[in-house]
């Protein structure tokens, strides 16, 4: 699988002129008067990236305009937090940061906005039928019993029961990056992380990942399959961002070494 990033662009291509600006921006003293102007240039320059990501999340019940604004917030965060010295390129950092911001927006807007009205109503109807039937039967009802009570096909009841999970399982697809999830993950991977993109044989990668100590494995999974930033991982795992960065570097080096050895 060769992931394509052409639709986002690459640092070598249409965004090449921004790379030196980015480097300069990161080097400047926080109070340097040159910074605000550079920041503006960078944000405007990379804006198409944010828009591209926003479009990918369109059609899930949120207006595209809102998504673009949220993605822009992600982009601004990325511009401000990127550290060129860390060895990865801006895209590797920005794509997950922007994606994370959009995801968070969806999550914070809660279940109600990402589930269609019909399913939401269904869910409420099921909840009330569930309470009544549990009382009457002295046990939890079966889907068919709920369907009878509501006069609906069983398939619809099952759909309603699962409605709350629907959004989550689609994000699971993305995080798994195997089988059915391949397409979604593939979409990300080019821009996702230069380091991991070098490893294009994901099948061979999998057993190596499984062999890592639990903490290393978790950090790798959070970084590459769940697209969290190092700061976010640090919060989750309860260690410093510096430490996360070190673990990632060492673990990636190890994985590369092992992959090279296995050919």
């Amino acid at each position: 699988m060769t992931p394509s990033v052409s639709s986002v662009g690459t640092e070598q291509g249409e965004y090449a002129h921004l790379v030196p600006l980015q480097r300069r921006y990161a080097e400047l003293d926080p109070n340097d008067p040159e910074r605000p102007g550079l920041r503006e240039q960078l944000i405007n320059g990379y804006l198409p990236v944010a828009e591209h990501i926003a479009r990918r999340f369109a059609g899930r019940g949120e207006p595209l305009d809102d998504l673009m604004q949220v993605a822009t917030v992600g982009l601004i965060n990325a511009v401000d937090r990127f550290e060129p010295g860390r060895g990865s390129d801006f895209f590797s950092f920005a794509v997950p940061t922007i994606t994370g911001e959009v995801r968070r927006y969806f999550r914070d807007h809660g279940w109600s906005t990402r589930v269609p009205r019909r399913l939401k109503d269904l869910h409420i109807a099921i909840r009330s039928a569930l309470a009544e039937l549990s009382q009457q039967l002295g046990r939890a009802p079966r889907p068919s019993e709920i369907a009878d009570r509501l006069g609906l096909p069983v398939a619809e009841v099952i759909e309603g029961l699962q409605a709350g999970e629907a959004y989550r399982s689609s994000s699971l697809d993305e995080m798994l990056g195997s089988g059915e999830g391949k397409a979604t993950l593939g979409e990300f991977i080019g821009g996702l992380d230069g380091e991991l993109a070098l490893i294009d044989d994901r099948e061979a990668l999998r057993p190596l990942l499984a062999q890592l100590p639990p903490r290393e494995r978790t950090i790798i999974a959070l970084r590459f399959f769940r697209q969290l930033t190092q700061t976010q991982i640090a919060e989750q795992v309860g260690i410093s961002q510096m430490h996360v960065s070190r673990v990632l570097r060492q673990t990636l080096a190890y994985l590369h070494e092992q992959m090279a050895g296995s050919d």
Binding site: Q69, I76, G100, R103, R104, R226, V237, G238
Partner: protein
């Protein structure tokens, strides 16, 4: 176009609010302080092998900082044995350290997990978060 957006969000950019930054699609943990001695932890999402360690350490932190910790499990939609174990251990820790751990739980799935495993009786429940805080002082 970029400029106006930037202006729109300017306030948020520089603030790194940790509460807003919780990232996971799978589990969400938030804490609110209620006076110096009580904290309310809100758990959302799936508590399983992957996410339970996070919950465990989170509860540990809150229990070392406050006398009363209320855990709101209403938004939980999976609670596996790793998650149950994390709650159970937090509960034991609370008992040892003479802290109060109270659960508020209207999640069907979480309640089922606590019932089926017969762990329910080990915990103290309150009907609502305000109730849990009221009885605690």
């Amino acid at each position: 176009m970029g400029v106006s957006r930037r202006a729109l969000y300017g306030a948020r950019v520089d603030s790194e609010s940790p509460a807003a930054d919780f990232p996971a699609d799978i589990i969400g943990l938030q804490v609110a302080e209620h006076g110096p001695d009580a904290r309310v932890v809100t758990v959302r999402g799936e508590v399983d092998t992957l996410t339970a360690p996070k919950l465990a350490s989170f509860l540990h932190t809150q229990l070392s900082a406050a006398r009363v910790v209320v855990v709101d499990l209403d938004g939980v939609d999976f609670l596996g044995s790793a998650g149950l174990s994390a709650l159970f251990e937090a509960n034991e820790l609370a008992a040892r350290e003479r802290r109060a751990l109270r659960l508020v739980c209207h999640s069907r799935i979480a309640n089922r997990a606590l019932e089926a495993t017969e762990l329910r009786d080990h915990f103290t429940f309150a009907d609502t978060v305000p109730d849990a805080l009221k009885n605690s002082v």
